[in-house]
């Protein structure tokens, strides 16, 4: 783990020496940014142990979730709809009380420390919600008035700045009910930006947005993260967060089935060896003969799990056995495949 800056310094050190905000181009690959934590700093912005929620109906919505969200990371919280993501987020923010388990935000036990720590946490929970008869600005003013740590003297400026950041300044005086879905979503993000935050918890921030809106929200998240804020962002689509996340957690029917960096998730995928050949039958024999698992054959190909063996040795064996090798590949399953594998196909709603 590399430490970006040494010694006790200002808080941007949890930002582990990021360069300038990445260019807004969308195709840019996820830059691996391992969380480097200065000595004495906690490794996690969100931690939970065995967080569970059983609703009164008896349904176990969240089942023993132990999160570890590294400080400074962009943590993609993935899972199909109904897998318990929103319930988990509601517990993290103290909106609902866990049946068992506990959690901390920024090193502060919740929900006991809610008053102290939540002013440092910006959030978007289950879609935007504001008073329809008030303007965007008036709605933000109300959020700000509810915050006892907010300085009323700077309220107008902070509200303008937040609206500016999400591109809503021009529509600030419009009634919330006249906003498009994208504008509503952006207003909710603006509410999270009224104060400098150490942690942003965003539940499906791109839900219902068109591709352009999705792109804007994504670059906004990048920008927020570049400022040193830990971002915890949920989505039911891997593609939505793949480009911005450093870490992912995957939920399935209330349980956290994977947690780690994107690279770790990729490594989970067992590499295969794929032989393109006119004689797949023969190739299958060779692959099976070398003890490879999960040997399959197709019209002009044969494949198996690579395991610990080296592709060049397999190639030599194939050639030695007289298999006409037209091509050799070692494909890895895509993240999308792994994600589907983790979460299960289709809609299997349990409970």
């Amino acid at each position: 783990m590399s430490v970006a800056g040494q010694g006790a310094g200002p808080r941007d050190e949890i930002g582990f020496g990021r360069e300038d905000p990445p260019p807004a181009g969308e195709r840019q690959p996820a830059r691996p940014r391992p969380p480097a934590v200065a000595p004495g700093w906690p490794a996690v912005a969100i931690s939970s142990t065995g967080l569970s929620k059983r609703f009164r109906g008896g349904q176990l919505a969240v089942d023993g979730v132990s999160l570890a969200v590294p400080a400074g990371s962009v943590y993609g919280f993935l899972g199909p709809n109904g897998s318990g993501k929103t319930t988990t987020i509601r517990m993290l923010l103290g909106l609902i009380y866990p049946t068992s388990g506990e959690h901390e935000l920024l090193g502060t036990p919740m929900p006991a420390g809610a008053t102290a720590v939540l002013p440092r946490v910006g959030s978007l929970v289950e879609g935007p919600a504001f008073h329809p008869q008030l303007s965007g600005r008036a709605n933000l003013a109300r959020c700000d008035a509810a915050d006892r740590t907010a300085d009323p003297a700077t309220a107008a400026d902070r509200i303008s700045a937040a609206l500016e950041r999400v591109g809503l300044l021009a529509a600030a005086r419009k009634h919330y009910r006249a906003y498009s879905l994208g504008m509503k979503q952006r207003l909710a993000i603006a509410a999270g930006l009224l104060q400098p935050r150490d942690l942003m918890i965003l539940d499906e921030p791109t839900n219902g947005l068109d591709p352009q809106g999705t792109r804007e929200v994504r670059s906004l998240i990048r920008e927020i993260a570049a400022g040193g804020t830990t971002v915890f962002v949920s989505s039911h689509l891997l593609a939505e967060v793949e480009q911005i996340s450093t870490h992912v957690g995957v939920m399935r029917t209330g349980q956290l089935v994977f947690q780690g960096t994107l690279a770790e998730m990729r490594d989970r995928g067992a590499a295969r060896i794929l032989v393109r050949t006119a004689e797949p039958e023969q190739a299958v024999k060779v692959l099976a003969g070398r003890g490879l698992a999960d040997v399959r054959s197709g019209p002009h190909e044969a494949s198996a799990q690579l395991g610990e063996q080296r592709p060049e040795e397999i190639n030599a064996a194939l050639v030695h056995a007289g298999v006409p090798v037209a091509g050799l590949e070692t494909p890895r399953p895509s993240l999308e495949d792994l994600f589907v594998e983790l979460t299960g196909e289709g809609f299997d709603v349990h409970g």
């Binding site: 006790a8 200002p10 808080r11 004495g40 700093w41 906690p42 509601r90 923010l93 103290g94 909106l95 609902i96 009380y97 901390e104 920024l106 090193g107 502060t108 809610a114 008053t115 102290a116 720590v117 939540l118 002013p119 440092r120 946490v121 959030s123 929970v125 289950e126 879609g127 919600a129 504001f130 008073h131 329809p132 008869q133 008030l134 003013a141 109300r142 959020c143 008035a145 509810a146 915050d147 006892r148 740590t149 907010a150 300085d151 009323p152 909710a188 509410a191 104060q195 150490d198």
Partner: protein
């Protein structure tokens, strides 16, 4: 920031400190009042509360002297002789339904309205603080109730002054006080009725924490208020009459005696205080332990 300023867990001790004193409370309450008084529905209710005294005054004027014929609500007969009594008569009339309805709307909407909009979860995530949110909501309901009672009194007084002679006020006990002293008693009556409505508001606040449907809460509160008034009118229930929330609402007549006050008034205020304490406690117990899933 030095190492010493960090918390035990290692995060910097840059906890934004709540500004001390009443500042943040006043700011939140102002925001709440702006929300309540900015709603057309609530303003329409205030307009109705102001309009009914006008109707009563005009009707009395048109029916001419002696047109009241006695019988009607208390104080109605005195209006023709002294316009100030239109305020007392209007409060009496409106206490049967429109004032309780107004309180039901505002208090029933207080928590349930935020829940139905989904804004409750954002207020709590701010964090507004559950107890603080309840306190501010209730304070705003009480202030709206006071505004409602004051609106009735002010509208009635204006109409009374325009349509009827105004002068020294003859009290129920027969003695007469100056107009100024009479108006002071009117102010006390307004405060008493506002206290009665504050007690109903506490019941409404509690009901409002149990549902995400403001209309349901409003209906429930109104049914409770009407049921209380109906029970109060049935002699067979006399054993429970003193404990009904509406039983002491009209006891403000005691303020118009000389000397003002008496056991009725004390019982009334005590009853309101008990209702406020019990239902504020229920609201608090419910809301601080409830899962906010809206």
């Amino acid at each position: 920031m030095s190492t010493a300023e960090r918390t035990a867990a290692g995060w910097p001790a840059q906890q934004p400190r709540p500004a001390g004193g009443a500042g943040p409370w006043v700011r939140f309450l102002r925001s709440e009042l702006r929300l309540i008084f900015g709603r057309w529905r609530n303003l329409a209710l205030l307009a109705v509360l102001a309009g009914i005294p006008v109707l009563i005054g005009v009707a009395l004027k048109l029916s001419g002297p002696g047109g009241g014929g006695g019988g009607g609500p208390a104080f109605l007969d005195q209006v023709a002789g002294n316009g100030v009594f239109l305020a007392f008569a209007s409060l009496t009339v409106l206490l049967t339904l429109v004032l309780p309805l107004t309180m039901a709307v505002v208090s029933g909407d207080s928590m349930a309205g935020e829940a139905s909009h989904g804004t409750l979860r954002y207020l709590l995530a701010v964090p507004a603080g559950r107890t603080r949110l309840l306190a501010v909501k209730y304070a705003a309901v009480v202030i709206f109730g006071l505004a409602a009672c004051a609106t009735v009194a002010a509208a009635a007084l204006i109409v009374g002054v325009i349509l009827f002679p105004v002068g020294p006020v003859t009290l129920l006990s027969g003695s007469t006080v100056s107009l100024g002293a009479g108006l002071l008693r009117l102010l006390l009556v307004v405060l008493y009725v506002a206290a009665a409505m504050a007690a109903l508001g506490a019941i409404g606040l509690a009901v409002s924490t149990f549902t995400e449907h403001p209309i349901g809460a409003i209906a429930a509160i109104l049914v409770l208020a009407v049921a209380s008034e109906v029970s109060d009118a049935v002699p067979q229930f006399s054993a429970i009459h003193p404990y009904l929330p509406s039983h002491w609402w009209l006891s403000f007549g005691a303020i118009l005696r000389s000397p003002a006050g008496g056991p009725e008034l004390t019982h009334g205020l005590l009853s309101f205080a008990v209702y406020v304490i019990i239902f504020a406690a229920i609201a608090w117990a419910r809301f601080t332990s409830a899962d906010v899933t809206s």
